[in-house]
Amino acid sequence: MKKRVRQVLVLFLVGIISPFLLSFVYRETKPVIERTKKEQLNKSLQEVFPDSLIRFETVKNDTLWRIYKNDSCVGIIYRSSKKGYTSVIRPIVSVDSRGKIIRLKIQKEGLSETPGLGMNVTEDWFQEQFRGLSEDELWLKKDREEGKLDAITSATISSRAVVSAVREGLKNFKKYIPSSSSTHNEWFRNALESLLGNSRMEVIIQGKLWKGGDRYIYLSQGEGFASMIGVLVSIRNDTIQEVHIQFPEEGFCETPGYGSRVIDEEFDKRFKGKAIQDIDGIDAISGATITSNAVKNAIKTGYKEFIQGRNR
């Protein structure tokens, strides 16, 4: 009996002391680990898009970033992965606004393809080939006629893995590439005219607030899952008359099937006749909560600006 108690006690003590020590080490090293990770990531992002005037915005952790230059989105960077010959190859790729590859980089660290053969995917000449190619051209020459890429001699599997990682990544993330900016900025013109109807338009703040008859119309933006969502709101006596949410052809690029349902399911009709303080009670679209909230927030922040603008 005494022996049993001793056994339990010793195991218990070991089980207490060891995690205690580990939690201490974990707490001390975690911030350092995260910082080095972030630094390495930033370095690789800068390597595939070497321009000092840009900033990166994370769309999906560790896989997708948007590149901004002077507040307009000029391209995306993504990371995709594919099994190579003996390890997983994870190229980081930058794409411009036309959907063409700018540059790619394959990290040597953690890659264990055959040295001297598959490992050559990290060589410059191989990676340079990708520059300026579009999705259709991302095939090995020997696999498809339209392909424009040479494989590394006797390392076809590794080369093919890189090419298909890049191609599949581009296919998946293409929709996040911002459409050309000119239509983007003017998307609300038609909607504005239809909302105002026959009444005479009076500009209160250029590009932000208009007055037509007894109605005010304001333009606002909310941060959605993958893009900024524009919302045009017409308001009378502090009650929302109509809401127009930006359409895809107007530069709206939320996830199809999810975020895009704020358009498909006539989400805008739910706001009709609601007072501004009741907005929080409106149901979000299931599966598109972030996008729905973005619309709500856009209406609310726009309302605040509208009050200030009206009283001026």
């Binding site: 056994q7 660290e109 040295p115």
Partner: protein, 202 residues
């Protein structure tokens, strides 16, 4: 006590004599730096697990000793793992899964079971130091041989130092790639064991 230390390096050499813990030895010694890093990580774990196990050898119940050894070893391995990740991230990526795998390195469990469990802490510490140093030296030598023949450079430190060029450009461009592939590991370890035994017989 110094006898224990010397024995740890030569008479009880983990790789050349006892021939245990060969898995990380073959896998990570593709460069001298990797070998050194792996050796030092294992040495750290070895010293502390030997010390703790020896200090508490009278408390640890006989029939529960293996699970307790494993928990103690795993604790120190995790400490090493986090520390490497934080301060030498490149080395941590290179050694990859072989750092967490030190937990099941039979060299370390073997010393805990075979030596530390029935010796006093002083001896256990010396044994840990000796065995660890012997292990590190062999890993470093193997890494050196394989890196020089396989890549033509020595002591390359990823992200910091591009290595000494041992041979000329011509060799680097067409080096003996076999040496940094798995067969190279077996060849090198066989060579070292052979040479070692040749001298020991005499």
């Amino acid at each position: 006590m110094s006898r224990t230390f010397i024995d740890g390096i030569i008479k009880n050499n983990l790789i050349l004599v006892l021939a245990i813990g060969l898995c990380p030895t073959l896998a990570v010694t593709t460069s001298a730096y990797n070998g050194l890093g792996m050796g030092l990580a294992a040495t750290f774990v070895l010293i502390f697990s030997n010390l703790i196990i020896s200090a508490f050898r009278n408390i640890i119940p006989d029939n529960l000793r293996i699970p307790i050894f494993i928990v103690i070893i795993a604790t120190f391995v995790t400490v090493v793992d986090y520390t490497l990740k934080a301060y030498v991230p490149f080395l941590s990526v290179q050694l990859g899964v072989f750092i967490p795998l030190i937990v099941v390195n039979c060299g370390i469990l073997g010393r805990a079971e075979g030596f530390a469990y029935d010796h006093s802490p002083g001896y256990a510490l010396m044994d840990g130091l000796g065995i660890g140093l012997g292990f590190t030296i062999i890993l470093f030598v193997m890494g050196t041989i394989r890196e020089i023949l396989g890549q033509g450079i020595w002591l390359k430190i990823p992200g910091m130092f591009s290595g000494f060029k041992v041979f000329g450009e011509a060799f680097t461009n067409s080096s003996v790639i076999l040496m940094i592939l798995p067969p190279g590991g077996f060849l090198t370890i066989a060579l070292l064991m052979g040479i070692f035994n040749l001298f020991r017989r005499k």
